[in-house]
Amino acid sequence: MAVQPKVPKGISYPDELSKVDYKPPEKAWMDTPVVLKPNMFCWGNKEKSLKAVDFPNARAWSVADEDWKLPENWKEIFLEGIRERLDKYRTFRLFMDICVRCGACADKCHFFIGGGDPKNMPVLRAELLRSVYRKYFTGSGKALGKLAGARELNIGVLKELWYYAYQCTECRRCSLFCPYGIDTAEVTIIARELLNLLGLNIEWIAGPVANCWRTGNHMGLLPHTLRDTVEMFKADLETITGVKVDYSFNRKGAEILFVNPSGEYFDPNGNITFMGYMLLFHELGLDVTLSTYCSEGGNFGFFTSNEMAKRLHSKVYAEAKRLKVKWILGGECGHMWRVWHQYHNTWFGPVDFLEEPVSPITGTKFENAKSNKVVHICEFTSDLIKHGKIKLDPSRNDNYIVTLHDSCNVSRGMGFFEEPRYIIKNVCNNFYEMPPNTIRENTFCCGSGSGVNASENMELRLRGALPRANALKYVREKFGVNTLANICQIDRAALQTLADYWVPGVAIRGVHELVGNALIMRGEKERTTDLRGEPLLGKEGGENV
């Protein structure tokens, strides 16, 4: 078990990185100018990425440059942006006004726990913007200035806002502990909107947004590439299971439109989750279609502005309408479900051109989704299992000693806890929970959410992952856990690197990958490997290694 940590380039070893000093400096935070530390921020957006979606101030710029090439009246634009949003969002106005700075949120943030930067305490991250709000929008701030916690907006302050707006993953853990429900995610969302008025995004978000606008998915996969990818999965699945699975793209008249995060077509970890869906749909004979136009369930627009989020996701219902499906099924993804669950109906409703979702296999009506007509794949699958509609052999996952990472978005933006657990317990024999303070509503973010899963900010991500990794390490040492299951594509793409660093020897797996392993199919050959081609426990001598 003594696997060595994989240490990314330019990063110190875990024992070094985990020495965190929580003591704030002597000097007041307002008098401490921001230092943009390498490995902690993402590259700025490219000109073409903003141009592609007609965003303002598209130009070539670099974070490291002194001059960020802002429009002359940038201050006016920014302050006008605040004014507009104060009138549009009660959350924003309220959260600017009612914080009492009790500090209950401070040590709840994974970035503060793993990094110790006081400006990553949620309260202070919000104060960065609040101080500007006070200066220009409150009487006391105008009159008393610094004494009232107000400060001028200048280029240093703007850079600070940018730096910390992209050091928050909008995971809402702080909001859980706040006695007034102040949600830093909401503050960060607005701060990012304001920054985007000045063309200040990061390429890791702006690039996928531009791709998604044109090609329908973040990865920029074109229709034929998507088909070739799925065709390849089909070939792999036939080798492993002996079953030729059906699938279709853009098929009119299908009963269900299935939408998943496009990372599942691209990322090796996500691939296998997708193969799990394919096996399940085939075995059920589900009348389901994929779409190339709507080939993304995730929404990096949500990390840019509410308008951009809406612009990207209009395709979901447009495509459902065009294909004349009855309802929509969604794959395993975190922020996708935050948006689908908390925003879709408001943006696009009333969704009267679809039918209230009913499982064609069990006849279950998904009452909780009757208005916006989107069902989570884990709701769908757990209902199947409950009704005994699929045959499962959990021993095929006996190589795995599993724990579940609750993804922040579906946890605190939805409350989705039992469904994935129920599935895992039915498809795996070994399941152990991480400590209660780190799961369910208390779950820790992977540290890479909300579009900051780039590689140039690796230190930030590793630090942010410390609390999650630490809980994982606990169950690894106690129960020998070697698999972290989750229902989020960012987790699958990002957590492997982070686990390899903090808790080497743990594999990251989608829940439907485990379902695919366990699913007993009609006409399948005796399986000797799992969906990754790894030999099953007791089948190590098999032919197919």
Partner: protein
């Protein structure tokens, strides 16, 4: 800076009242005019702030969900921490407002060698906060004795419960002791915990000192420097009946107490103390998590520019056709 300044401002306030009454004989100002002005500012100010908040709409239904959502019928929903109905929201809000449910969750994170993170129980803030707010509320209720004639029936009841230990003359109120202890704790916590001190502003220290000043002056008046209670009630009844009178010889400590209370009332609407009203309006707490079941309407929802399927097919039609993916138009 904020700490010392706040302290001195409160001292100055005390001296102002003392000097104003003792030296300048401004009883009418401190006993009648300022309290009226303060009360009006308090009511109008709160109303103004709440209306201002209320004018900003709630575009999205974004409750912070803290338990299992309503899902399949055999999955047990956490109806309080993740409500899907109005009743659930009312219960959740009641827990939040009356018992500080969210603060009760508080933990203390410790990073040990290893590294190993531990999350310990941390209920002191919750306990002190709860004690402070509840005792403050009970003390305000007790004060109704001064503003009603005949005295409201529940006031003597509260008083007798509050003086449960039957200690001292006049009887010691438990709330007085707990209140002062809680405020003192909240102050020391703010000063002694480095992170909390780091984020603290004058706007955090000032209300603490002011409220402490109110508590101390009240206690001094009741237990140590006796004031003319009959005269005091004459004055307060005069205020509520709009028949203001200033009886002679109430004692200066009364005016100091009243002036500090007036200051608090004036300060309240312009400060963080508005969290009292704000908590009721917080969209992460007061909304049901039923977005997929019921459509939430955003009053400023507007049509946005989208990339249509037609545009998409136009650009990629030849790829789609080559890959055998159905298209709408052949060319």
């Amino acid at each position: 800076m904020g700490l010392l300044l706040s302290f001195f401002v409160v001292i100055v306030l005390v001296l102002l009242a003392f000097g104003g009454v003792e030296a300048a004989n401004l009883q009418y100002l401190f006993g009648i005019i300022i309290p009226y002005a303060a009360f009006v500012t308090f009511i109008v100010g709160i109303f103004y702030r709440v209306v201002k908040w209320g004018r900003s709409p709630v575009p999205f239904r974004i409750p912070t969900t803290a338990g299992q959502e309503k899902s399949l019928p055999w999955i047990k929903q956490n109806k309080i921490d993740n409500p899907s109905s109005a009743l659930g929201v009312i219960v959740r809000m009641a827990f939040e407002v009356l018992l500080f449910r969210s603060l009760f969750r508080n933990t203390k994170t410790e990073l040990r060698e290893g590294p190993s993170l531990a999350y310990g129980s941390a209920k002191w803030l919750w306990l002190a906060g709860l004690a402070f707010h509840w005792t403050f509320f009970i003390i305000v209720l007790r004060h109704l004795r001064l503003f009603t004639e005949p005295i409201l029936f529940f006031v003597p009841l509260i008083e007798s419960l509050d003086a449960f230990f039957q200690m001292g003359v006049p009887l010691l109120y438990i709330t007085d002791v707990v209140f002062l202890m809680a405020v003192t704790y909240l102050f020391f916590r703010r000063v002694l915990i480095p992170q909390v001190r780091y984020i603290s502003l004058a706007a955090d220290y000032f209300p603490l000192f002011l409220i402490l000043g109110i508590g101390v002056s009240g206690v001094l008046m009741r237990y140590f420097f006796k004031v003319d209670v009959v005269g005091a009630k004459e004055l307060t009844m005069g205020l509520v009946t709009f028949n203001p009178v200033v009886p002679e010889g109430i004692g200066v400590i009364f005016y100091i107490h009243l002036f500090l209370v007036s200051t608090l009332l004036i300060y309240f609407p312009f400060s963080k103390l508005m969290h009292m009203a704000g908590v009721f309006l917080s969209p992460t707490r007061n909304l049901a998590n039923n977005n997929r079941e019921r459509m939430h309407i955003n009053p400023w929802n507007y049509p946005v520019k989208v990339h249509t399927y037609e545009e998409y097919e136009e650009e990629f039609r030849h790829f789609m056709k080559d890959a055998g993916i159905p298209v709408e138009k052949e060319e």
